[in-house]
Symmetry: C2
Subunit: 516 residues, 2 copies
Amino acid sequence: MNGAESLLRSLIASGVTVCFGNPGTSEMHFVSALDSVSEMRCILGLHENVVTGAADGYARMAEKPACTLLHLGPGLSNGLANLHNARRASSAIVNIVGDHALSHAGIDAPLASDIIGIARPVSDWVYTSISARNVGADAARAVQAANRAPGSIATLILPADTAWNDADDIANPLPFASPIDVSHHTIERVAAQLRHASSPAILLRGNVLKDEGLIFAGRIAKHTGARLLCDTFAPRLQRGAGRVVVERLPYFAEQVLESLRGIDLLVLVGAKPPVSFFAYPEKSGWLTPEGCMLSVLSHSHENGCSALSALVEALGAGKDSFSVARLSLPEFSRSGALDARAVMQAVARHMPENAILADESVSSGFAHYGITASSVPHDYLNLTGGAIGSMMAVSIGAAVVCPDRKIITLVGDGSAMYTLQSLWTQAREKLNVTTVILANRGYKVLHNELIRVGAAQKGIKAHSMIELTDPQIDWVSLAHGMGIEAVRVELHAGFEDAFLSAMRHQGPRLIEAVIN
Amino acid sequence: MNGAESLLRSLIASGVTVCFGNPGTSEMHFVSALDSVSEMRCILGLHENVVTGAADGYARMAEKPACTLLHLGPGLSNGLANLHNARRASSAIVNIVGDHALSHAGIDAPLASDIIGIARPVSDWVYTSISARNVGADAARAVQAANRAPGSIATLILPADTAWNDADDIANPLPFASPIDVSHHTIERVAAQLRHASSPAILLRGNVLKDEGLIFAGRIAKHTGARLLCDTFAPRLQRGAGRVVVERLPYFAEQVLESLRGIDLLVLVGAKPPVSFFAYPEKSGWLTPEGCMLSVLSHSHENGCSALSALVEALGAGKDSFSVARLSLPEFSRSGALDARAVMQAVARHMPENAILADESVSSGFAHYGITASSVPHDYLNLTGGAIGSMMAVSIGAAVVCPDRKIITLVGDGSAMYTLQSLWTQAREKLNVTTVILANRGYKVLHNELIRVGAAQKGIKAHSMIELTDPQIDWVSLAHGMGIEAVRVELHAGFEDAFLSAMRHQGPRLIEAVIN
């Protein structure tokens, strides 16, 4: 076997069985090897941010890494923004980046670049294979690195000769470092703090936002009166009817400050202290209220669920009941011109049980997040790193992991233009994704920001840099161009009909929801 | 004035008057300042590779830098691939990359990243402004750095508070380092070598491939019998009827070796020694024939035109005639199913004088480059760095510089999917660009490469990673979705009619040319 086959078989031995890729010449041996290795599912993306975003979505739902296959420095560069988001989501990903053969390194060919330099800002682990004999072992180490709790980005650079030369083995998987258990001392400290606080809150992030952790958190909240919070951009949250309710921190700094006012203890479980997304003149970005004690129950690499479980015991709350959301669907009128609120109302009413909402609706979503809170149980995925162009690709990965669940992507038109190639992969793989474009014809979040940063009254030129009119984007045509059924709606009734139709349909759909 | 206005006015004072951008919150003061500074033309791109590719095209035609406006690390990341191409084209570009305010640096907000680390692999100069009082001077230094011969990438990172705080001046432009003249000794050495060589060739790159340099080269060729060559991917070449003919080196290594066989002297003018684009097992990437002497007349930062002029004098060739191409249009039959050859024949016959051909037709273009060689005079722009998704964006910049010339983008469907958002900017700015999609429904260059690298017979999975069928991409719908008139053609006559119509039309058009 050659290095490429050794690499592929070693990845599979370590549990990596899906490859999202866009290969080039230097990856042709890897591509060729695919047909001799049946266990690896390969999915083509027509831009690398589709590839890396899909790997992010895969990791969030599968809780294990997929690999990506990227062509040299430019291919990696194209996927960096969604690797940034993936890293902020603590998603585990193994990037395989082809490079020129080592013999080619000295001649500065047009595609040569500093791949290690490009990889480093988004990678927790970077390594260049230097021999086909070692590439299997390198793959095992890359998977081990990616699995480091809570999930890491590992980038393995694969010179072409490392793929085409002879190799002789399949590497055994290496043990993963499990999340560390929090000390008894920490549990006791937090328990005592919670007992003495008059107005405590617990900020949760990571896999504690799934059912098991939520139930522990719910018991603690019931017992101590603590509020349960999550970040604005939690990577994944399980919510809806029958689940413990977690308040999402709002987006704008002053809203967060208002929300946290009066809290005297903030317990962090896998979360960092709340900060504002952007800086503004004369405003602090540090949002923990003055006088509030910050207390870490668990860091993101520690075992938050076991810590919450131990905290339940320490508090004697093991038999306490806990509150959950009751199914409660919002009102919805069939008449009227569409707006973001009506879109979210229809989504809340008609999404199927266990739907996965992938939210990059930005300005539209900030205001109306609560509308879906008491709908049927579902998973909620957020744009974690703020680099737009993420969630249409994340939906691909989620759909690959969960073929029996409906994925609903809520995405602003500005965001959607970034990685619209995602639609082609959704069509090719017949993924069960409904994309709702919230088409407000601009980067609406920036309208608000122009005012908020104290910038002067915007004039014609400033306006032209944040508007998507002239020409207006026709999302139905764009979707058709990539093989996706689509419809444009401008009224309440039209959206409800289109959304209901999409929910009944197995496979990809797109709805252009024109909103004000 | 604030820092943003100081920056803008200083850029303008240094001759930078076009800004391609996609701003975010941290750039809102810059955007706001645009309306108080009338001299800066601002052009929005809906993905940063559109922005940086447009700046590349601008630099190639204007021979001075535009600036880009990019949002934080992810915005810069999205534009890296076309900065790689621009750097390989020696294009001068000033990137302005917003960053969080310095006060925000310590809190690790979701969009925080290592911007310097991301910038470095594609930048010749990187600097972070630390005060609004200095940002004007920093801008002047960035423009100076970008103008360093033959053209460089300068990246200025602009923390948001550097934009919003008070500034007090507009910086004066700094002197640019002109290209260095080559020494008399070098001229004499090369003249002597040319006199003694039995089979010399001259490899040209940079602005010597424009009329003035070509005439000098033509005289030298006539006098010495030297062949005139350019790289496969010369950034810009002036060619066509009435111009000195330069042979383009072919793409594949064995073709280059064949082409250079028997040469005993290779004079380099702004060019590097020829190397193969990719490495292949058992093949050398170094393509200078054994026994051939390499001789540098000028490096890329030196003045190639004056060196050629001096060489003409040293050889006593100043009054020699020189050969030029005569207008000669290829045959074209109106009947038959379309292929790449027929597309190039129609382009050669019907492109208007002074057209600009921006070529990313990859596999289609390699084979048929010669067909347009004796057409009317035109400029030919190439994909310099091999990162696909370049030339549709490059065409934007070229059209901004040359509103009275027709831009013809020849692009493969695989390439076109990378930066298809370029079409929206072409529509918005009503740019005079005709895009010809050579739709062969796959990454055809990779079909060849799978065989060439000695990879095994490709099977179903390998095939699926390089084919763009299932679903088939409908380029007419995609163009319509972004406000561009478009037509699909499958026959010789249909293409000729569509192309003639586009040539008569002022403004953007797209033709989906379905080829085998």
